[in-house]
């Protein structure tokens, strides 16, 4: 018999990019390689985001990662506990991380079911030997290094690349709506994590010392300008305009949001026109990364309990 849940809700969404350099720069005990320093602005941005997570006290973190690429359908981690050592295939010199994570399988199954109901091909990942991708792990570590909140991991179906950007992002929109329904049905207080970089133009060689910040800057002026334009619109809560520009942004800035996490998160949140809180921006091997928060709990509370209107006394 199915359990009866109170209606769940998405309490916040975060743009939470996954350069493994941030973990490397932080030197947590789980990561083998050790750094001297590096990417502080982004790491401090994540420190602020961590405080928000602490205050929100969500039941579950859902992360959509572009580094679990699936060609047939949208997949969901479906094993209660996954552990192992994740070595980044691109940056093995800086990311060799021993992880253990608990999966909210009930919610993952609900997402899988709701996606299928909406016509998506969805699949649960039940293999206990599965290696969780470094994008998922980096985002989760940076947002909640205690690893004490269950997670739902979603793959990035390659539809935006295999089909067209528009067709692919339509699938992500459907996936987002399905995710919202699943959260509501299972009664979870959920935080969504879109594991995406903005401008994705990057350098093709690493400095001899990866954390040599004298070598770190945007790869291109136009990519940086695009990032600032998108961030400013998001800070103003101009969500509709951002999504109008998204295909152009993707084409011209090679933006990683093409892989779908950003659209998935916004669709799940109902494309709210609320100002984002920018926790910080920085580049990693030239790519543009922003840590941003949309706190729906705060917004909903403010709507329910509006502050008393002040009377403006011109004479005062």
């Amino acid at each position: 018999m199915s359990k009866i849940h109170k209606k769940g809700e998405i309490v916040a969404g975060f743009l939470a990019p996954h350069p493994p350099h941030l973990v490397y720069g932080e030197n947590p005990p789980q990561n083998e390689p050790k750094s001297q320093c590096g990417w502080e602005q982004l790491r401090w941005a994540y420190e602020r985001a961590r405080k928000s997570i602490e205050a929100l006290k969500p039941d579950v973190l859902l992360v959509h990662s572009p580094h679990w690429i699936t060609q047939q359908g949208h997949h969901f981690l479906g094993v209660h506990r996954l552990c192992g050592k994740s070595v980044d295939p691109i940056f093995p010199n800086i990311f060799r991380y021993t992880f253990e994570l608990d999966v909210d399988v009930e919610l993952a199954e609900a997402c899988c079911t709701e996606g299928a109901k909406r016509g998506l091909y969805t699949k649960m990942m039940r293999n206990p030997n599965f290696r969780v991708d470094y994008g998922t792990i980096t985002t989760l570590h940076m947002i909640r290094p205690q690893w004490d909140i269950p997670v739902v991991g979603l793959s990035a179906n390659n539809s935006p690349y295999y089909l067209s950007t528009q067709e692919g992002l339509e699938e992500m929109d459907t996936l987002g709506k399905a995710t919202r329904k699943a959260i509501e049905k299972t009664g979870r207080r959920a935080v969504l994590l879109a594991s995406n970089t903005l401008c994705h133009w990057h350098f093709h060689e690493e400095p001899a010392i990866p954390e040599d910040m004298s070598q770190e800057h945007p790869e291109s002026l136009s990519g940086y300008q695009w990032d600032m334009r998108i961030i400013e619109l998001l800070r103003q809560g101009k969500t509709k305009e951002v999504f109008r520009l998204l295909p152009q942004f993707i084409d011209e800035a090679f933006a990683e949001v093409k892989s779908g996490a950003f659209t998935w998160m916004f669709a799940a949140m109902g494309y709210p026109n609320i100002p984002a809180e920018l926790h910080g921006y920085g580049t990693v091997i030239g790519t543009g990364n922003a840590v941003m928060e949309w706190n729906l709990q705060k917004t909903n509370r403010a709507r329910r309990n509006p502050a008393p209107r002040k009377t403006w006394n011109r004479a005062a």
Partner: protein
């Protein structure tokens, strides 16, 4: 140049994990036949390039003396694990790392415990080099390298092997047409995703079996775009580069669908 055998094989796990499914079983049998031919050629080393080992910074080469473990495919996880245990020819791999600067490519050695070995490399190695007895050199697919540069990489690796007086089997791992079915299919009735891809695959196979190298090179740009060749057919560039663009003909040990994509097991006849 001491190339003693050369092959193109698909990197899909499906023939390995579900050879009981008839269309994929045919490919598995072809892979096995190719493996027998490879062993019979008595190579000292296998130079293997897989389109599924993706790199974006530098050209990566595996330099850990032994890589072993269990891999679960990102997409086909329901079919179980892919075990692997491979011996690496580290002397030759390091020589390749050092040599690529001459062709303008920065290379990097990869020697890390638990480094993720890709599905294509594992499947090809398990069929062609059962038990991992023959040492291997594993090369990555840098997404920013084109066909011509990948040919140079293959050539460079073969040259380094020749300098070390080694008999070489060269292997390119990837699909012919890369178009896949995206939803649920009846796997027993798997077929190439569209007739035009089937036509392109057969055209390329015919050029290979007839030894028409010039015609093959002429057809490749069309195959890459209209035939949706997997990763621009760069795994073929690796093999052709190692062969110096020369072969007499080819045996097709198997051709068929792998969830819509074109899987072909090709052995190049060198003499």
């Amino acid at each position: 140049m001491a190339i003693v055998s050369a092959f193109l094989v698909p990197g899909s796990p499906l023939p390995y994990v579900r050879r009981d499914n008839k269309p994929w079983g045919k490919i598995a049998a072809g892979m096995q036949a190719a493996g027998e031919a490879l062993v019979a050629s008595k190579p000292h080393v296998i130079l293997l390039y897989s389109t599924q080992w993706i790199a974006v910074l530098d050209q990566l080469w595996q330099t850990r003396p032994r890589v072993a473990g269990l891999h679960v495919d990102e997409n086909w996880h329901e079919y179980g694990e892919l075990p692997y245990d491979l011996k690496i020819d580290t002397k030759l791999a390091h020589a390749c790392v050092a040599a690529t600067s001459k062709i303008g490519v920065k290379s990097k050695a990869v020697n890390y415990d638990s480094f993720p070995i890709d599905t294509g490399t594992i499947v090809a190695a398990n069929f062609l080099n059962p038990g991992g007895k023959i040492p291997m050199v594993l090369a990555s697919n840098n997404l920013y390298h084109d066909f011509a540069l990948t040919e140079k990489l293959g050539r460079t690796a073969a040259t380094q092997a020749s300098k070390q007086r080694k008999r070489v089997a060269v292997v390119g791992v990837g699909n012919f047409s890369g178009a896949l079915f995206r939803g649920v299919i009846d796997i027993a009735k798997d077929k190439i995703a569209a007739p035009k891809y089937d036509r392109w695959n057969k055209k390329i196979l015919k050029l290979m079996t007839s030894g028409d190298v010039k015609g093959l090179y002429a057809a490749l740009p069309g195959f890459a775009t209209q035939g949706k060749a997997d990763m621009g057919f760069k795994h073929a560039a690796w093999v052709l580069g190692a062969l110096g663009g020369r072969f007499k003909s080819a045996n097709v040990h198997a051709y068929g669908p792998l969830y819509g994509s074109g899987g072909a097991v090709v052995e190049f006849i060198l003499k």
